[in-house]
Point group: C2
DNA sequence: TTAATGTTAGTACTAGGTACTAGGGGTGCT
DNA sequence: AGCACCCCTAGTACCTAGTACTAACATTAA
């Protein structure tokens, strides 16, 4: 028998998976200390649970977030573009995650929803570069992390370089957001 | 003399620094091939330029973006809170970056500005948890990457669980955004 | 008691390096 | 022409955080 706090394999594996998500930057050595088992045991555990080695985990985080940051900040569309008829209408889909929401309530933050709507509005209008001038929006009901947002945008009027776009977002056919945008095409 | 495309040290170093930012995931071996020099030369280059090894670079990207994603999605305030009088008013500051803007024009995307405004509005009201119900916003002029946004929020009226907040954002005393929010405090 | 499961130990090997020593080749200066 | 200096290349020992594998012991269940 060893000495201290030794838990069962099942419990260790349980705790293991959680820890890997919280802190992907931990080495086998540290893990071995933490659970007071040998490094070999940790390696068998990772093998069993299909958890890659530290370097791979770090690389994965790097690549994922690298992409993510680029997607959030840089893409023309927040969410996935499903359908688009330039100058007329468009549909995009956004799967909400825990990161988009308040920790306490799991309710998705408004600006994430707004971002989807605004970027879709910008995408549907038939202009090279456009900026949002005015918008009038209403959040109709709470959105919880994990729910799939379907945004539909429709161009209602075009007057000179001003484009009027209506956007509605639904979750399971229930409206959660609606907004009117006036977009200004710039040269 | 070797054989092919060999450029000067200065030019290599120049190109080197750029490449490291574009693609931090490249190994010394690949770099050696790319510049048709030996691995040792690449290592001397990195030493000279103070560029860490691949693993450290990857780790850095991982950590940075890890934090970034958390900041964007999770913080209560987008930008830095400068002043706050709960239930009355608040000021926040956001330094815009190239990532927040359209690549072509360098103009900051609307939703980044909106996010600052909305999150500040949520912060000033004296309620544990609140959601945005309605908002009415106007972008008054373009914001370019690098400009410092100062958001001022003021609670104008409270009726039951509805909080009316006005937010203005300025760059060098010039208004670039104004918005009215109706926030709903939830229990 | 035997078999299965869980744990530890150790070896050979890997990638992608650091740190260091040593030497060759071209250029510039005197 | 001689020599110094820079640039580049080569090679060795060592490092971390592993993989892949073999072997043996400990614990538990049948």
């Amino acid at each position: 028998m060893k000495n201290k706090t030794k838990i069962s394999k099942r419990d260790r594996h349980e705790s293991f998976k959680e820890l890997m998500q919280e802190d992907p930057f931990i080495t086998d050595e540290k893990l071995a200390e933490k659970y007071s088992v040998s490094i070999q045991t940790i390696r068998l555990d990772r093998l069993e649970l299909g958890i890659p080695e530290l370097r791979e985990r770090v690389k994965k985080v790097a690549k994922k977030n690298y992409d993510k940051v680029r997607t959030i900040f840089s893409t023309e569309i927040i969410g996935e573009l499903i359908d688009l008829e330039l100058g007329k209408n468009g549909i995009s889909m956004l799967e909400t995650t825990a990161e988009m929401s308040f920790a306490k309530t799991n309710i998705v933050r408004g600006h994430n929803i707004f971002s989807q709507a605004e970027s879709l509005a910008l995408a549907v209008i038939d202009a090279d570069i456009a900026l949002t001038g005015v918008s009038n929006i209403k959040y109709l009901s709470k959105v919880h992390a994990g729910e799939k947002l379907i945004a539909k945008a429709e161009v209602t009027r075009v007057r000179g370089n001003k484009h009027f776009v209506h956007v509605t977002i639904t979750v399971n056919q229930i409206q959660v957001f609606r907004g009117k945008f006036i977009l200004v095409a710039v040269k």
